[in-house]
Symmetry: C2
Subunit: 267 residues, 2 copies
DNA sequence: CAAAAGCTGTCCGATTATCGGACAAAACAA
DNA sequence: TTGTTTTGTCCGATAATCGGACAGCTTTTG
């Protein structure tokens, strides 16, 4: 009851009007942005009545915020929503500011680097930077949306957030975590604790299939609250303890540089 | 009456519910994305009753789609809308696909190059590529939104659109054009005609203050309909007739390359 | 300083768009 | 063909929206 203090920014804050339904649907569609969503899937994911979904989707299509793939009838986020997003990005130019640094970081680490932000209970990947290496670990893409907390970048942000808030997010998302193949809750909580102590994200013991590890750090606003996360994934055993420490140090340095740039831009 | 045939994608297609108001407001705010909008300005721009605006803005703020600048009380597009935009962009990766080509084009032309798309009756700048040159002509920025038809890129797209559709857009936007300082309607229509004949955008005789000219070409989808426009601006007299033709040729070549890449990506 | 003007926040009854159960059509499978 | 699943539509009850009117607050003006 006290944990609702953290600004919630859910669609649940809205009265049950058309805008409310629209937001829920758009987020649900975004969670499937590469395949597109069938209507039945949206019913399952949102638990809204199907006629309502039908009606609202038609409205959203009429303004170009949602498009329908003619070939398979699936729904996707529309072009006009992307256009609106460009305008919104001009106020929140994290990716643009971070682009150069993260590209260089990726090159120098020989690892794929991700940039992610939090949106409510979701995480959204807003940048992916591939190293020159032939091997690319990880399967994220720009625009990918999923439950917040399941990537190294999220752990990096968690490590810089108040413990209460972390617990609140984890509790609300736990059922979504469990839908992920091979999720190991005990191991996840161990990683959370270890990350909180270290102040950086140590992604490990999370999926039962232990082939990859990850590291994450947060980009902080002037008040010390994380506004974005930088993450990277590597195959188990590729980095020894020293290399891992070195990698984290470099990531934190880059995060600091980006934070400074961001602050300078907005000021 | 027959010209409404072209898919309208306006908010006017919606019933007057909260979603309808929200779309109108978001577009209005986007039109001022660098300064932020005061509430009075939104009243003037949307001609919605102020209490309605107040209510809907509060709703939009509660989901993070709109933010309020604490220092001056102005409204801006919010972070979560940008996050949603990233997901939508993953389905419409024009900018990502075009980035390399347009950067190179800008370098080789020694001119600033813009990439824009149409969203309803608006144009949205989704890319700006500065040359190495010290002189940067033009004042557009990524995310800028304005009436469609007032930039070289728009003229390039107009030149590849059916005459009826062009006329419809121009007619509906004419009052917005006239609000622009120094707009010369007769000169504008001459440019429109010249562009239609040439098949490329020839931006000239548009503003009474004749210090700059512009060139534009369209990026076409497989059916030949423009999905984006490439534009550039230069100071009067910098290019002679031959240089201008050469510039246009290069731009069209780049547009073709981008179109192919886009087609390959979506297929 | 007082008054006026402008901007912003809130209330609440009438209106009206939404809501969603129920039915129908279409696509697909067996 | 028949059974099953997915999608499209109708329409009365309901509930959210709508927006005029009022009030607090800040800035400008005489």
């Amino acid at each position: 009851m006290t944990d609702e203090a953290s600004s919630q920014k859910d669609a649940s804050a809205l009265p049950a009007g058309s805008l409310h339904r629209a937001v829920i649907l758009l987020n649900a569609i975004a969670a499937d942005s590469r395949r597109g969503s069938t209507m039945t899937k949206l019913v399952a994911r949102t638990s809204l009545p199907r006629p309502t979904i039908h009606r609202v989707l038609n409205q959203l299509m009429s303004i170009g915020w949602v498009e329908r793939d003619e070939t398979n009838g699936r729904f996707n986020l529309g072009f006009d929503l992307a256009a609106l997003g460009y305008s919104a990005m001009s106020r929140h130019p994290i990716e643009r500011v971070a682009h150069t640094e993260l590209s260089q970081l990726s090159m120098s680490l020989y690892q794929t680097v991700y940039l992610g932000v939090r949106s409510g209970l979701d995480m959204v990947c807003i940048g992916r930077y591939d190293s020159g290496s032939q091997i690319q670990v990880g399967k994220g893409w720009v625009g990918m949306r999923g439950p917040f907390g399941m990537t190294p970048a999220c752990l990096g942000m968690f490590a810089c957030m108040p413990r209460d808030e972390v617990d609140g997010i984890v509790r609300k998302n736990l059922s979504r975590y469990h839908r992920i193949e091979g999720f190991d809750e005990a191991g996840y909580r161990r990683s959370l604790t270890a990350s909180a102590e270290a102040g950086v994200g140590l992604y490990d013991n999370i999926l039962l299939d232990r082939t990859t590890c990850g590291l994450g750090v947060a980009i902080l606003d002037p008040s010390g609250y994380p506004i974005a996360g930088i993450g990277t994934v590597y195959i188990n055993g590729w980095l020894d303890e020293n290399q891992r420490r070195d990698c984290l140090e470099r990531m934190q340095q880059v995060a600091g540089t980006i934070a400074e740039k961001l602050h300078a831009t907005s000021a």
